[in-house]
Amino acid sequence: MKNPLDSLWGTVISGLVLTVVLFFLARTMMGG
């Protein structure tokens, strides 16, 4: 499998996905 960080688009999409994952993690930690 190709490393998504090798392309700019792959990097940006990975960043967006990580943001969403961390958002739900934070929401759970905050009791939401």
């Binding site: 490393n3 960080l5 090798d6 700019l8 990097t11 940006v12 990975s14 960043g15 967006l16 990580l18 943001t19 961390l22 958002f23 993690l25 934070a26 929401r27 930690m29 905050m30 009791g31 939401g32």
Partner: protein, 169 residues
Amino acid sequence: MTDFIVYGLGRWVHIMAGVMWIGLLYYFNFVQVDAMKAAGADNPPTGAGITKHVAPRALFFFRWAAVVTVLMGAMILGDKIDDALFFKEKAYIPIGIGAWLGLIMFFNVWVLIWPNQKKILGIVSATDEEKTKARRVAFLASRTNVMLSMPMLFFMVASKGVFRAAGLL
């Protein structure tokens, strides 16, 4: 007066240094990487000026802006730093996540990017094989920081309003 220095000047300098740090990170990833590829494909190659004159200057401001950003961030958090970093207080969870992402990025700058860039730019001696490896490590660490910068900025800047609207703050 202390509040003015810590929360006024501190936040101002934190954001200015952060803009310089992340701005140069984006310059490297969105501009210089592809520009160097294109310059290397020229006949004869035309990237020597970037390597000699641009990259070392950009890296100087990049790594020291990272230091100032982290120091000012720690100063702003003050005695709440453990509440943020160890998620002790609900209100500090978003900024704590942002701070951890910033600290990982800081580690990448000083431990992975800069030592390997010194080999790539010839500031320290390295064999061709070491340079090839250094190029890959520095590139992936830099790309990792672009990826991490997105949630980092969300949690540092934008998340409070989102969590407040959701009734969590």
